[in-house]
């Protein structure tokens, strides 16, 4: 992780645009990543951070959120770690609705995790002792996710 960037922010929505700017700037340091993939990563990280901020708000937690960007030769990995405990409810992770399931558009929410899944080449959600870590990976030469 010596080639990585860490950003720690208060769990408040006004920091989201800063997170997007940092991720875009970090990704731009990777010469193998095209503008389209940087944009995909920027959107996905913004969604993960939004969920983390929301989880903190629901619990009234004043702890901060950590965004780690790790640049490797062939990929960029970003991990969004929050301290909202409990994190995901059991089972919630098993059935994240696809974007096109019938009736989904009746709801105004529930698009964040499906968006992350299609935008990132890899997406993993890990429950921590006191929070959640969402890992998003975009490969420099990865398959176009369009």
């Amino acid at each position: 992780m010596t080639s990585g960037i860490n950003l720690v922010i208060p769990a408040q929505p006004e920091y989201l645009s800063l997170v997007r700017a940092v991720v875009a700037a970090a990704a731009a340091l990777d010469p193998g990543l095209g503008d389209d993939r940087i944009e995909d990563l920027r959107i996905a990280v913004s969604e993960a951070t939004t969920n983390a901020i929301e989880a903190h708000a629901n619990l009234g937690s004043r702890e901060r959120i950590t965004i780690r960007c790790d640049l490797a030769d062939d990929r960029i990995e970003v991990e969004v770690e929050d301290h909202a405990d409990p994190g995901f409810e059991a089972g919630e992770l098993d059935s994240p609705g696809p974007l096109d399931r019938p009736g989904r558009l009746e709801y105004e929410g529930g698009m964040g995790i499906p968006l992350m899944r299609v935008l990132a080449d890899e997406m993993k959600i890990r429950s921590l002792d006191h929070g959640t870590a969402v890992q998003l990976v975009v490969y420099a030469s990865g398959p176009s996710k369009d």
Partner: protein, 114 residues
Amino acid sequence: MLAVSSSDAGRWRVLHVRGEIDMATSPTLRQEIIGQIGAGHRNLVVDLAGVDFVDSTGLGVLIGGLKRTRSQGGDMRLSGVTGQLSRVFELTGLDDVFTVIDADQPDGVVGAQP
């Protein structure tokens, strides 16, 4: 930062939005849409030409606006959907749900489909 101004185009109330629509700013847009509907403007065009980023929270506000106008017998349309916006509209299937009108000829297209 999000700024909303409005203008009229026939029976349509056009909301010109500038900035980024995310969790920080989407409540402003939601309030604006609800306020317009409350003031009797059931037919809304949300002009997103000045918007360079929309997240899922912002998409939710737009879906909510569509449902609210329709429940009042009105409608909501979008214009200026380009770049990052067209990408997330496509990925979420919302390009099929919203009527996106041409930003260059808003009156013509809007007027033609009452």
